[in-house]
């Protein structure tokens, strides 16, 4: 597992208050939050999220890491992105979701890299299409070594 993905479903206000160290949050909808973290931290992130949402009756936290494949594009990723996605890039830090190389994806923008999150059952398309379209670019497609790009201040 290259990185963990934990989904949290709860009331919007409850999700607003979640702040777990060293996680990358992607707010998919008012009642759905994805927390991305290092591979070995899925369990602890789940535990922390459940504790944070304990007051929300009916909330649920599930480790869905196996359902996702994460890739990191570095180098000329801006050019690669421009070729492969119809949606203008978001200003970093930011995220959006849409078709990337015709694969449904969640995209997280950082200055140095682009994180691409796709369903694990479609991941085989992504690598092939990136290489096919961007073989002339200096794009390194890497599995994220660690999600060390917190999108918010780490809480004490």
């Amino acid at each position: 597992m290259l990185a963990s993905v934990v989904v949290c479903h709860a009331a919007a206000e409850a999700l607003d208050d979640i702040a777990i160290d060293e996680t990358l949050p992607i707010r998919v909808s008012p009642d759905e939050l994805l927390l991305l973290a290092a591979a070995e931290r899925a369990g602890s992130v789940c535990t922390a999220a459940e504790a944070a949402l304990a007051g929300d009756d009916g909330s649920i936290v599930v480790d869905v890491s196996d359902g996702h494949a994460l890739s990191c594009l570095r180098g000329d990723w801006h050019e690669a992105y421009a070729r492969l996605c119809a949606i203008p890039a978001a200003d970093p830090p930011g995220c959006l979701q849409g078709l990337f190389a015709n694969v449904p994806a969640k995209l997280v923008f950082d200055r140095e890299e682009l994180l691409v999150v796709v369903s694990s059952v479609l991941a085989h398309h992504l690598a092939a299409r990136v290489l096919e379209s961007c073989g002339d670019l200096d794009v390194a497609e890497l599995a994220p070594a660690s999600i060390a790009v917190p999108m918010h201040e780490a809480t004490a």
Binding site: I60, V62, D66, R83, L84, S120, V121, L122, R129, E132
Partner: protein
């Protein structure tokens, strides 16, 4: 022809000189007829040499409708003309040019309609005779990419105005994509414009902010705005903040008697042929036109060696000649005069190439240069481009229409002359849009570039004009011809889903097949071998493709109780129930299982190909009812392996310390167990009719689990089984496959599955539909049929007394039972459903139980 600087033209070798287009090379070798006109098969020769007219459409390397005048000649090309039979030079169908009275405008609306059988016979011949070329059906299309670009500014057209616009935008720190349908300046003859373009091009090349795409015609401007460029390698989908159209102007097409004779040229075309390619359009040239550009053309032609008679200010009355021009009659102040010539060159005005501008509607698109103000000076065109590049709006200058056409061909593409327009007018078609539709003028390859202004002038001068729709006609993409292959760039890049075991299946030699959005193993070795492994030993199957969902939230139980026709609330933790999913109409749309996890949480499954639609249905109902329900898709996160066969328990016990006996783990229960170190949610099911454990687990552990099962079960005779074996195994149990055995109106009762619906429930989705159907006598239903003798194929018709009563939806030979079995739909015969049927000479008996293990003892073992 390889290694030779030449191309092949209809069996002849055509040498290529530097910078040649296909047209210039052919003309140099003496080719004068490039095509035959659409309807009357008139000879057509080179005319514009700017890619605007339809005269030089040829087939190059199998691709039809290629504009020879803007296509670079290359060694090894194979070029041929596509119109005319047996050849463009000697076309038997040229006789149609003498039959104008028999082929009036719109003749196909009036003739050949009675008797009714006549038109279907004639139509193929008419289409063949009137075609512009044949589509290359023998070639497999290439998959092409589409790429996205996101500049601040898109500039279409790299003439003086376009280049200036791009530079101005870049200087004001905008990113720019600049495109042109040809190479920069290639369609211009030597002169001031060509020189200035070269200078500006050098400046553009030095600007990093400008991406120049040559030979990339803009196909259309769409909402967004989105500009689509058709480059040879890709389709570029450009998403700019604003668009500048600087597509310039074409020379005004001349309309007069004889205007389509060979040897009649537009000025830029003649000058380009002479100046850029060193080929004279004729030796004795009459040039009609005034203005600086006309004078430049005269100089170019004279410098190339032509004898040029200037006729500034004259009006062409007629061009004379049998097939090629021999003389031109001019009205020159004091009267008409006839001038002998072998080339008539026209430089009488400009028509803006404004198709893209007219497409743009309310989008942020501005016009610059000749397209906005035809005939502006070079300096003005450049200034116009600069202003557009800086974001300044400019009012386009209205370009006066040409004089009313009196004679000659107005629409070269569709062979519509003034006579045809007058005929249509007489018949009452009296506005631009209507007369366009009736005559098809402006609807050919040039899309009105040559003829629209003349059509409007005709309408404007017509007595009794309606005044409605007399402006320019609507312009729609594509602005330039595009093949279906090119238009499909980036489209149809199908996505198919693969489980974590995909590579393992390939390593085992599986034949993979599309199954909905998935790739699944059809078979590994032989179907019978796999079948017997399930029936006699133990087998594994990758069922990770099943739709799997976690249903949670305060109202999860209530939600499922309303959704499913079966009871849900009464399921204790650890229990499993088979469930149909109905539409509001009461018809079966999918099926699966419901597992009670306890604590108000549920695990539900759907079929592999129906899961996406089922999920949408569930989310729809959650929203409709306003219930507090969370639906979490675990399809990709959870793998699933079905371990099936009489020795399945024995195999699993080797790999698990958890109790798997029937008392601890009965049929239709689920348990958390650990198998080969992998935590699994195991479910006892019976789709294939044997003792089975379906192991749901984290998909990252699928390979470990699969490998452990195959390795540990090798002495038990384990084999994986694929879809072919599965279909037969479940058929022997009479289990349906949604979409194969169900029809669009399959109620549970028609499927003999009324037991899966609890009508005593106060409500469930589809209840009213089920009740409505139950109030009427069932007219058809699904039955199980045993066959003795040859097994009929799926889809075979079922008959009673020779009369068709239905068809088989599933069929196969049962190895265990030694005869054919099937599921099929039958209608009532004389008020009753048949108990015996016949298909293709084979007799079948309808049974009311599963063929194999009818009491289910094996799967409950």
């Amino acid at each position: 022809m390889s290694g030779d600087n030449a191309f092949e033209f209809e069996g002849r070798r055509v040498p290529i000189h530097g910078g040649d287009t296909v047209a210039s090379a052919l003309f140099r070798t003496g080719v004068r007829v490039f095509s035959r006109s659409f309807k009357y098969h008139r000879r057509r020769g080179l005319y514009c040499l700017t890619g605007d007219c339809p005269n030089c459409l040829v087939n190059v390397d199998g691709e039809p409708c290629v504009r020879a005048c803007v296509t670079a000649a290359a060694p090894g090309q194979r070029v041929r003309r596509e119109t005319g039979w047996p050849s463009a030079d000697r076309d038997v169908l040229g006789v149609l040019d003498r039959m104008h009275s028999l082929l009036p405008v719109g003749f196909y609306y009036k003739t050949l309609l009675r008797p009714r059988w006549l038109w279907p016979l004639v139509e193929p011949w008419v289409r063949r005779v009137a075609g512009l070329g044949r589509a290359p059906t023998g070639r497999i299309p290439e998959a092409r990419e589409a790429r996205h670009l996101h500049p601040d500014v898109m500039v279409i057209g790299a003439g003086v105005a376009g280049l200036a616009a791009a530079l101005a935008a870049a200087e004001s720190r905008k990113t720019v994509v600049l495109c042109d349908e040809g190479r920069l300046g290639e369609t211009l003859p030597p002169g001031a414009a060509r020189t200035r373009i070269d200078q500006l091009a050098a400046a553009v090349a030095a600007q990093d902010a400008i991406t120049l795409l040559e030979q990339s015609p803009a196909i259309g401007i769409y909402e967004g705005p989105l500009v689509v460029l058709n480059e040879a390698r890709f389709l570029h989908l450009v998403h700019p903040a604003r668009v500048i159209v600087a597509t310039g102007a074409a020379e005004e097409h001349g309309v007069f008697d004889g205007n389509d004779l060979l040897g009649v040229w537009l000025g830029r075309g003649a000058a380009r042929l002479a100046g850029a390619h060193g080929v004279l359009p004729g030796r004795r040239v009459v040039l009609v036109g005034d203005g600086a550009e006309a004078r430049e053309h005269v100089e170019t032609l004279r410098a190339a060696g032509a004898e040029v008679t200037e006729a500034a200010g004259a009006r062409v009355v007629a061009a004379h000649g049998r097939h090629a021009v021999r003389a031109v009659e001019l009205e020159e102040g004091s009267g008409s005069r006839r001038h002998p010539c072998d080339a008539l060159v026209l430089s009488t005005g400009l028509a803006p190439r404004d198709g893209l501008v007219r497409q743009a509607g309310g989008l942020p698109v501005v016009a610059a240069g000749d397209v906005a103000s035809p005939g502006a000076s070079l300096a003005d065109a450049e200034a116009s481009g600069r202003r557009a590049g800086l974001g300044e709006e400019a009012e386009p200058v209205a370009s006066p229409l040409p004089g009313t056409p009196r004679a000659g061909i107005v629409c070269l593409c569709e062979d519509v002359g003034v006579g045809e327009l007058e005929h249509a007018w007489y018949e009452g078609f009296r506005s631009t849009e209507i007369i366009k539709r009736y005559t098809t003028a402006t609807m050919g390859p040039c899309q009105g570039a040559m003829c629209l202004r003349h059509l409007r002038a005709f309408v404007a001068a017509g007595e009794g004009a309606t005044g409605l729709g007399d402006g320019p006609t609507n312009a729609r993409p594509p602005a330039r011809g595009i093949t279906l292959e090119q238009a499909a760039s980036g489209v149809g890049r199908e996505l198919h889903q693969e489980t974590a075991l995909h590579e393992r299946h390939l390593e085992l030699g599986a034949t993979m097949e599309p199954a909905g959005v998935w790739r699944r193993p059809q078979r590994y070795s032989g179907v019978e071998e796999e079948y017997w492994a399930v029936r006699k030993a133990v087998s594994v199957m990758d069922v990770g493709t099943l739709g799997k969902f976690l249903v949670a939230g305060r109202d999860a139980t209530e939600f499922l109780e309303r959704l499913y026709p079966c009871n849900v609330r009464d399921l204790e933790a650890g229990r499993v129930r088979y469930a149909l999913l109905l539409g509001e109409h009461g018809f079966v749309v999918d099926d699966g299982i419901v597992c009670s996890l306890g604590g108000g949480r549920w695990y539900v499954t759907f079929t592999s190909s129906g899961a996406a639609a089922a999920e949408a249905t569930l989310r729809d109902w959650i929203e409709t009812w306003g219930l507090h329900v969370y639906l979490i898709d675990l399809t990709a996160a959870r793998g699933a392996i079905n371990v099936a066969g009489p020795r399945s328990r024995e195999l699993l016990q080797r790999l698990s310390d958890d109790p798997l006996d029937n008392e601890s783990f009965p049929y239709l229960r689920h348990r958390e167990i650990t198998v080969a170190g992998v935590d699994c949610g195991a479910i006892r099911l019976g789709f294939v009719g044997e003792l089975s454990y379906e192991l749901h687990h984290p998909s990252s552990r699928s390979v470990d689990l699969w490998d452990a099962l195959l390795a540990t079960g090798s002495d038990l005779g384990i084999k994986p089984h694929g879809l072919d074996a599965l279909r037969l195994l479940r058929l022997e149990k009479g289990h349906i496959i949604i979409g194969q055995d169900t029809d669009f109106d399959a109620t549970p009762a028609k499927l003999n599955m009324a037991w899966a619906t609890k009508l005593e429930k106060p409500m469930f989705v589809g209840k009213r539909g089920v009740e409505r159907a139950a109030a009427h006598e069932m007219e058809r239903k699904l039955v199980a049929v045993e066959f003795r003798g040859k097994t009929p194929p799926e889809g075979a018709a079922l008959k009673v007394g020779g009369r068709y009563v239905g068809q088989l939806s599933s069929s196969g030979y049962s190895h265990a039972l030694g005869h054919g079995v099937g599921l099929g739909w039958v209608s009532r015969v004389n008020g009753s459903f048949p108990t015996r049927v016949e298909t293709d000479g084979v007799l079948g008996t309808v049974v009311d139980h599963a063929f194999y293990d009818p009491h289910g003892a094996l799967l409950r073992a």
